[in-house]
Subunit: 410 residues, 2 copies
């Protein structure tokens, strides 16, 4: 099924500058797709640090299991990625496949196995033809280039309707550093499921532990605060690498004040990529921001936001351009977090529609109806019990989603 | 929007015999619907016991809050039900409305407030015109009849496409008893949400505590094991009344061996009603049974079953007649319960498609494909860690669901 570019897509792919210490190459290996690159190698300077966030799925894929183990070393020399086959639910054969791929990278780049990371996305339950991937390694090594970010973003796509990338600049102790990131989002190729992959590289010199300490909250406030359909992939992988090529002062830890700008830039970049994933949600016609306030904690606020963002009834109402606050009340109630029914307040597009647990009598529906007709929907909810806040992003649930996902297996 | 009768509906409404000690009446009050009954009064003999299961929503409706309080008394003389307005998210006005309704029933039937139960379903966020309901009480009292079960099942409908009822017989110490039940399920009338209501009456003589002890596990294995779209109504209410008119021996408690037949009949009746609710799920084209085995506990098995049954990706695959076991693996992984990836087994329509964490090589797809084309879909999953079992029922996710729920507010 040929998919049309999402109406919520950004106008263009941003220009990603080189990141010192990182080179990329792509290749058409024919794993599943024809006539397009489906593999990507990211090579990192010796001594690069790595941190990551992986799927919480208990049926995680073989590459995720490998990354979980390798991340404990905190060092990275390469990431090998393929699209078209997820190497998930492939049993021991899948693990062997990862082992062979890692060994081939070790030979090609003269590094240690624990410095090699792998990620696969695509069909599940089919053995990965890893020989196609490893056969391409010599060629990819020869092609490695610092300016191949856009090609890399395209090579990792499955049924994404556009490539996803972002770049940010920051300063650490007055020295400029760059952060580049690419991502692929939810797209369906029968008989499998969406997978979110994202790879971020910076030339900052940040030890792995500090990098992980910066990444975890930033991932919570970005990739872990988005939802397309509440389903969790077996393969979700977010890796952040720091090559250390930038000549800034040594950082002392995640709380180092010199990291303030970097932390903000990393958070902003991850949020940008996460939004791009939502904007390519299957069948999405509207991008929805849900701001929850007044919750018992930040965690509670996020759970309430996700309950709203995952509710099929809320999402179909948005698809129907219906400012259906009743369904928002329902979703708050099912989140399992404390909320004061009689202090609940809801605003849609900036207009208060409910307050003190009741609809605002005679509120002006006209601006709300106009807002619901737009592409960008804003919902604010105050649950009236505390000071916890969080923002969650989602898209609407449309006929397009059903079309894509109820399609017969080809 | 006129809704077509669900293709999964039973052929006919069953014949519900009288239950000694219970009488019913219905009335067209014009709360929202025109030209149809929208209110129902169930009168119970003095001394009737009552047990119940109410929504876990933290934004529960005013009638639910009342029932929660009244249930602690364990006695019932009347249940007053209306369709068309849920009296939810109506603030203090909603509570006043319940108080006035209860007071009117108290006057009409000469009983105590704590013996009166109320349930409302329909639009939320609009004040309930309780005067329309209470004005009809004198007429309903005059009309009370033992054979009005079918009329009652119709009066409580919102956008259900068919009335839901069931009856069972059992013996307690050799004396026959009857159990009748009616239910209404998920249907959407903008701007509100689905609500499940069910009322069950038996002539058995069972004290409230024992009745509750019988009801709780039976509700877990029936109404709490179904899902249409994972959303939780603010109004879900299941009440079971025992009039005590049957002249059987005294029962000593839920473990009394004389209650074995009754327990089974109650469980069977609740499961029947719960299935009828799923078969009327919005847009449902297929009825799906998910049997989970090998889980750490029964509770874990049910959570895994609900994760599968709530997954939009699984449900759209079923709508597309696609035996997409990959999405089932994904749903098992996201349930948050223990599962052994390498011992996972999945059968669809009785055919093993995955075993030991891998697809069964060369399994015969033809009978599976035929099975997926039918109305009744069967999925069995063994997660390979323990002996916990549970069965969950759901329906597919179709364009019909989007049509119904993304419709502009009328």
């Amino acid at each position: 099924m040929a998919l049309q570019r999402s109406p919520l897509a950004p106008a263009t792919f941003p220009v990603l500058p080189p990141v010192a210490g990182a080179r990329l190459a792509t290749r058409a290996c024919g794993i599943r797709y024809k006539d397009r690159a489906d593999a990507c190698l990211i090579e990192l300077e010796a001594g690069s640090a790595i941190a990551g966030v992986l799927t919480r799925s208990l049926t995680a894929s073989a590459p995720v299991l490998w990354c979980r183990k390798a991340l404990t070393g905190g060092r990275a020399r390469a990431i090998l990625i393929n699209a078209g086959n997820a190497n998930a639910f492939t049993g021991l054969a899948g693990i062997d496949s990862v082992d062979r791929s890692v060994a081939a990278v070790v030979r090609a780049l003269k590094c240690k196995p624990r410095e090699v990371f792998v990620a696969s996305t695509g069909v599940i339950g089919q053995p990965l033809p890893d020989n196609l991937l490893t056969d391409a390694l010599t060629g990819m090594r020869a092609d490695l280039a610092a300016d191949a970010w856009s090609a890399a973003a395209q090579a990792i796509m499955t049924t994404d309707t556009y490539p996803k990338g972002a770049t940010r600049q920051a300063e650490i102790g007055g020295v400029p550093v760059t952060i580049n990131g690419i991502a692929k989002g939810s797209g369906m190729i029968a008989p499998d499921m969406a997978t979110m992959l994202s790879f971020v590289v910076t030339d900052a010199k940040i030890p792995a532990k500090t990098l992980q300490a910066l990444l975890t909250p930033a991932a919570d406030a970005s990739f872990n605060s988005i939802t397309v359909d509440s389903d969790t992939s077996t393969s979700d992988t977010l890796l952040v690498c720091a090559t250390g090529a930038a000549k800034h002062r040594r950082v002392s830890g995640a709380a180092d004040p010199h990291l303030r700008g970097f932390r903000a830039a990393l958070g902003d970049l991850l949020r940008d990529l996460a939004h791009q994933v939502v904007r390519d949600g299957e069948g999405a016609q509207k991008f929805v921001t849900i701001e929850v306030a007044g919750a018992a904690s930040r965690r509670a606020a996020r759970r309430i936001g996700l309950a709203i963002g995952n509710s099929p009834l809320v999402k179909t109402a948005i698809a129907g351009q219906d400012a259906n606050w009743g369904r928002i009340v329902m979703a708050v109630g099912k989140a399992g977090e404390r909320a004061d029914r009689d202090r609940l307040a809801i605003a849609i597009g900036g207009v208060a529609v409910a307050r003190n647990g009741q609809v605002v009598p005679g509120y002006d529906e006209a601006p709300v109806a106009r807002h619901m007709q737009g592409r960008e929907i804003h919902i604010a909810v105050d649950v009236g019990v505390g000071r916890g806040k969080a923002t969650v992003w989602t898209c609407d649930l449309t006929h397009g989603y059903i079309d894509i996902n109820a399609d017969y297996r080809s």
